[in-house]
C-alpha cells in the first residue's frame, strides 16, 4: 500500500517513496505516448498534483488538479443526493477542441487525461483502464526504499521556515 497513515490528530498523511513516484511517472509517460494525450495528471483527492506528463507548459496543472478534485468531490455529493450509493467512477467533459477524461485510481487518487477531439474516447478508455491497473499495482507495492519522514521536519526546519515566512510576507 502507499504509505497513507492516520496521524494522532486524525488527519491523513500520504507518503510516496521514490520507487513509487518513478513508477507512476513511467505509467503516465506510457499512457501519453499511446494516447497522444495533450496532458495527463495524477493527483490525490485533496487536489494535490503528484505527477504530470505531456504538453503542460501552457497549462496551470496545479490549479487543474485542484479543480478536478473538486469536480470529483462535487459529483460524489451529487451521487449521494440522487440515491446513487457508489461514487461515479469516471467523469467526461466534452469540448470543441479538447476533451477531459477523469477517472478514479482507488479511493485516494485520480487521473486526468486531456486530449484532442480527434482522438476517440474508446481509445482513451482502453489505455487509461490499463494505466489505472498499473498505478494500483505500484501504489500497493511499498517494497521500495522507505520514506524517511522522521527526519523531514525538525525544530531547525520550523525555525528556518519561520524566517522564510517573515521574509516572504514582508
Amino acid at each position: 500500500m502507499v504509505q497513507t497513515r492516520k496521524l494522532k490528530d486524525g488527519s491523513r498523511q500520504v507518503i510516496l517513496n521514490s520507487t513509487q513516484y518513478e513508477g507512476i511517472t513511467r505509467v503516465l509517460s506510457e499512457l501519453a505516448n499511446k494516447t497522444k494525450a495533450s496532458a495527463i495528471l495524477f493527483a490525490d483527492m485533496s487536489g494535490q498534483l503528484i505527477s504530470q506528463r505531456g504538453n503542460t507548459d501552457n497549462m496551470n496543472t496545479t490549479v487543474l488538479s485542484a479543480l478536478a478534485a473538486s469536480d470529483f468531490a462535487a459529483t460524489s455529493e451529487m451521487a449521494k443526493l440522487v440515491g446513487e450509493e457508489a461514487k461515479f467512477k469516471l467523469l467526461f467533459h466534452e469540448g470543441e477542441k479538447r476533451n477531459v477524461y477523469l477517472s478514479n485510481v482507488g479511493e485516494a487518487f485520480f487521473l486526468v487525461v486531456v486530449f484532442d477531439v480527434s482522438v476517440t474516447l474508446g481509445l482513451i478508455r482502453i489505455y487509461t483502464k490499463k494505466a489505472i491497473e498499473d498505478l494500483n499495482g505500484i501504489l500497493d507495492d511499498d517494497s521500495g526504499a522507505p520514506a524517511e519522514d522522521e527526519k523531514l521536519i525538525d525544530s531547525d526546519f520550523s525555525s528556518l521556515l519561520g524566517d522564510a515566512l517573515d521574509d516572504t510576507f514582508k
Binding site: 488527519s11 507518503i15 487536489g47 494535490q48 485542484a66 524517511e148 519522514d149 521556515l161 516572504t168
Partner: protein, 194 residues
C-alpha cells in the same frame, strides 16, 4: 498533507473558513497581490456574477527551499453562504490548517457561531476537532464603525484559545500575521505527529 520524497516537497493545505462576506476571498486576493509572482501561482476564483464565491478560491504559494525541502502551501477558501454547506465539506478534504475569518459586526455574530459549529461538525465527521486541530481566528473588518469588542468576540468564538488576530483584510492588516501563525501551527503539528 502530501510528501513527495523524489522532489523533496512538502505540500500542506490551508482552508479559509467563515460566514458569507466575512473576507475570506479578500484575504487571498491581498496575499496574491503582495507576494512576489515567482512564489505564487494564479489565484483561481470560482464566483457567481455577483462576485460571491460559489465553490472555492485557490492559490499555491512557496517560500523557497528550506534545508533542501520545498514547502508548498495550497490555500483554499470556502463559500460562506448557508446553502453551500455541502461544498464547504468537500473543500475541507485533506486540510492541514484552518484560518477562521470572523466578521466583527454585531449582526453577524450568529453567522460566525453557526459557521464555526458547521466547521466543527465537518471536522468531527473526519475524526478531528477544533480542540486539537491547527487553526487561528481572524476578527476581520475591525475598521467598520460599531464593531463588537474583541473581548466579546473572544468569549463567543475563541473557546479553545487559539491564536487570534485583528484584521482589515481589504487593507491587508492582519492578513499575513494570521497566515504565518497557521503555517507555524501546522508545521509544529506535523513535527509532533511524526
Amino acid at each position: 498533507m502530501f510528501i513527495n520524497w523524489a522532489l523533496q516537497e512538502i505540500n500542506l493545505k490551508i482552508v479559509y473558513y467563515g460566514p458569507g462576506m466575512s473576507g475570506k476571498t479578500t484575504n487571498l486576493e491581498y496575499i496574491h497581490s503582495k507576494l512576489d509572482p515567482s512564489l505564487t501561482g494564479d489565484l483561481v476564483s470560482l464566483k457567481t456574477k455577483e462576485d460571491r464565491t460559489i465553490f472555492f478560491d485557490f492559490m499555491q504559494i512557496e517560500v523557497g527551499k528550506i534545508k533542501g525541502k520545498k514547502p508548498k502551501f495550497n490555500l483554499y477558501t470556502v463559500p460562506g453562504q448557508v446553502y453551500y454547506a455541502s461544498s464547504r465539506k468537500v473543500i475541507l478534504n485533506g486540510v492541514d490548517g484552518i484560518v477562521f475569518v470572523a466578521d466583527s459586526q454585531p449582526h453577524r455574530m450568529e453567522a460566525n457561531i453557526e459557521t464555526l459549529l458547521d466547521l466543527e461538525s465537518n471536522l468531527k465527521a473526519d475524526g478531528q476537532s477544533l480542540e486539537s486541530f491547527p487553526w487561528a481566528i481572524q476578527y476581520n473588518k475591525r475598521d467598520l464603525p460599531g464593531v463588537e469588542s474583541l473581548d466579546v468576540l473572544q468569549k463567543r468564538l475563541n473557546f479553545f484559545n487559539v491564536p487570534s488576530f485583528e484584521g482589515v483584510a481589504v487593507k491587508g492588516d492582519g492578513v499575513f500575521s494570521t497566515l504565518k501563525s497557521v503555517i507555524n501551527l501546522v508545521v509544529q503539528n506535523v513535527q509532533d505527529q511524526l
